[in-house]
């Protein structure tokens, strides 16, 4: 992955707008967060292969970035995006890595289902 470049990310979001796409959206603090620090409230969520169409999307912020995708009936949102990649299957992979490099958030958009 490369550090996210706003213009390039925006271009990819635009490319996939208006199409039937599959979304992987995830936030995570890891399964061990409360084990190492019992005062830490562990939380996270993920959805894999949600199928939807977004009308338009936008990347904002000064880095780490925020991404919002507006749908006819709702929204997709991710915060803390630091890295991006368009992989060999032409999927847009966005990820936020924390200060130690660990994944904290992921938003991925694909025209075919994720494995």
């Amino acid at each position: 992955m490369e550090p996210a470049v706003m213009e390039q990310v925006q271009k990819e979001i635009d490319r996939l707008a208006g199409k039937e796409v599959f979304i992987h959206l995830e936030t995570t603090n890891g399964a061990y967060a409360s084990h190492f620090d019992e005062t830490f409230f562990s939380s996270g969520a993920y959805i894999r292969n949600a199928q939807l169409v977004y009308e338009h999307g936008k990347v904002t912020g000064k880095g780490p970035y925020r991404v919002g995708l507006k749908m006819n009936f709702g929204w997709v949102y991710a915060e803390g995006i630091t890295h991006f990649e368009v992989d060999e299957e032409n999927r847009l992979l966005l990820a936020g890595h924390d200060f130690s490099g660990k994944l904290a958030v992921a938003l991925q958009i694909s025209e075919t289902p994720f494995e």
């Binding site: 995570t28 890891g30 399964a31 084990h35 990820a95 890595h97 660990k102 994944l103």
Partner: protein
Amino acid sequence: MEKERHVLVIFPHPDDEAFGVSGTISLHIDNGTPVTYACLTLGEMGRNMGNPPFATRETLPKIRKEELEEAARVLGIQDLRMLGYRDKTVEFEDEEMLANRLGAIIGETNPSLVITFYPGYAVHPDHDATGAAVIRAVKELPADKRPKVHCVAFSNNCEEEIGQADVVNDVSAVIDRKIAAIKAHASQTQLMAANMEESIKNQDPEVLARMYKERFWTYKI
């Protein structure tokens, strides 16, 4: 350490075997005991991606699969099985079906010892769910056919509730292989492995105790 007929290790993530059990696996293999390792997932949801990141959510399972195969090679495990479940979802699988799947592997390999996580005391929900499914599968066997079950526990409260480990294996004779197995899981252990070697060199007593002694709780079925 008792000589076993066959050892079956059942864990949910590539690298679960490396930290707490790889020394014991090596000792069994040196004893001439065949070891089967059934690994439920490919750790698809791991957070370590390298720093700067060299893996993505989508490439991580492929990388971890290769790391798992390398760890098995380093340890001399001949029979490695990847069961195709998904990281973080084991606890949501149908419990009976999961127990049956593991039960079939127990039936086929006919181990005298099964090593897994102690359900309720293994921190990660996948660990607890895997351990619970193993216990359920073993319980379904007739009493005289049941293998011993040695469990790994490491939750903060485990010793208060289940006491001290009753099996402690000194793995200092095979420590190099243990370190090699940990290092094989490079995407997950890169930073940790460097610190660990440094600590061993400096004879840090806490790290030495953790690395050289592998602790298990015999599960009373």
